[in-house]
């Protein structure tokens, strides 16, 4: 059902979900807070934060939008050998493998230009690529589970899956960044 174009109707449709998603994002904030000292010590890692969150959420939302459309068109079945499912999953991992090296080198290069870098570019690249590739795999799992849940509960995947997946991937992006920093730095 379409929402009326009034402040009251739009707010009623949007605000409850928005506040819930804000609490989810606060979870990723708390993870960032737990390694704040490391982030403040190494600026190139701090530069990685917004771009990791943004790319993570985008990877999830692109996949979710494509699976939702396939679902509406009736071309999606939830079998591991489904071409739409497998092809989109493969594209998500390939996109992560393309973008995250640029994320890492870009973050290091910009920190080097604007200040000092204590970490080597290889460390920043390793952090970015390892967190990015593991994120892509998890993003596929989260998106498929969320789309399948929407299908089982007869919800419109456009309304539910995209915001849930985007914000979950934001949080996963920060958690995986934390784990990569823990292991590699």
């Amino acid at each position: 059902m379409a929402t009326d174009w009034t402040v009251r109707a739009i707010t009623r449709a949007m605000l409850p979900v928005l506040l819930l998603l804000t609490l989810v994002e606060l979870g990723s904030g708390l993870v960032l807070g737990s390694f704040e000292a490391t982030l403040l010590r190494y600026p190139s890692l701090l530069v990685l934060v917004p771009v990791t969150i943004g790319t993570a959420g985008n990877l999830g939302s692109v996949l979710a939008a494509r699976l939702s459309t396939a679902f509406h068109l009736g071309t999606l079945s939830f079998a591991p050998d489904d071409e739409t499912l497998a092809g989109n999953a493969l594209a998500t991992v390939a996109l992560a493998a393309t973008i995250f090296p640029l994320v890492g080198l870009g973050a290091w290069g910009l920190s080097a230009l604007t200040g000092s870098t204590e970490l080597s570019p290889w460390t920043v690249l390793a952090v970015s690529l390892s967190s990015g590739l593991s994120l892509a795999v998890l993003a596929v799992v989260v998106t498929v589970v969320a789309t399948y849940a929407a299908y089982r509960f007869e919800l419109d995947p456009d309304d539910v899956v995209i915001p849930v997946v985007t914000n979950t991937c934001d949080v996963l992006g920060v958690v995986l960044l934390y784990l990569a920093v823990l292991v590699l730095v």
Binding site: V7, L32, A86, V103, D170
Partner: protein, 193 residues
């Protein structure tokens, strides 16, 4: 279609949007990297960053999607006229919801950090920062989203494909930039930093 064809099509379709958000995210990161002194001075500010950035994407992405649907359905015209009731309602609702979510994020962060026994700046300071940052980025993003969606539609682009990359790119950059301005403005009023 084979798996390979599906993958190639999905990859080609998504790459420009991801590239745009990569540039926006790196610029936002540079601003955030320059805010280390502010992040040290205002304890709990870093915890707020993901929530504030995501609010921009959730609220103004939804405004863009609504405007795109409205244009497709002929509910609104692609002209910025102060008299258009529907356009004004959609913009006002986005701004109001964005502010409520930002203030809610600041309050929730303060409560959670206090309960965890983590040092945290005063609630007044966090609310002030969320208010100023939410208001400035809200006004800017409404202007950017309305202008680009309308201009794109008039030139024959599908507004649906413009909204996602536009909001994630400008939302990240303006989100962090106005966060910096908000921290410094509130510091002028309340002292400190």
């Amino acid at each position: 279609m084979t798996i390979r064809e599906v993958a190639v099509e999905a990859y080609r379709e998504a790459l420009p949007a991801l590239g745009a958000s990569l540039v926006g995210g790196l610029l936002a990161g540079v601003v955030l990297g320059g805010m280390r002194a502010d992040l040290r001075a205002v304890e709990g500010l870093l915890v707020l960053v993901p929530a504030l950035l995501a609010t921009r994407g959730n609220v103004y992405g939804s405004l863009g999607a609504r405007l795109a649907t409205g244009l497709h359905q002929g509910l609104i015209e692609p002209r910025v006229r102060a008299g258009d009731r529907r356009l004004r309602a959609a913009a006002a609702a986005a701004l109001a919801n964005g502010l409520v979510a930002s203030l809610f994020a600041a309050t929730a962060a303060f409560v959670v950090l206090s309960l965890l026994g983590t040092p945290v700046a005063g609630l007044g300071r966090l609310l002030g920062i969320a208010l100023v940052a939410g208001f400035l980025s809200g006004i800017t993003l409404v202007a950017v989203v309305v202008t680009v969606v309308f201009a794109g539609y008039r030139r024959g682009y599908n507004p649906d494909t413009l909204v996602g990359p536009l909001v994630t790119t400008t939302g990240d950059v303006f989100g962090v930039l106005f966060l910096l301005i908000a921290v410094r403005t509130v510091a002028l009023v309340l002292g400190g930093v």
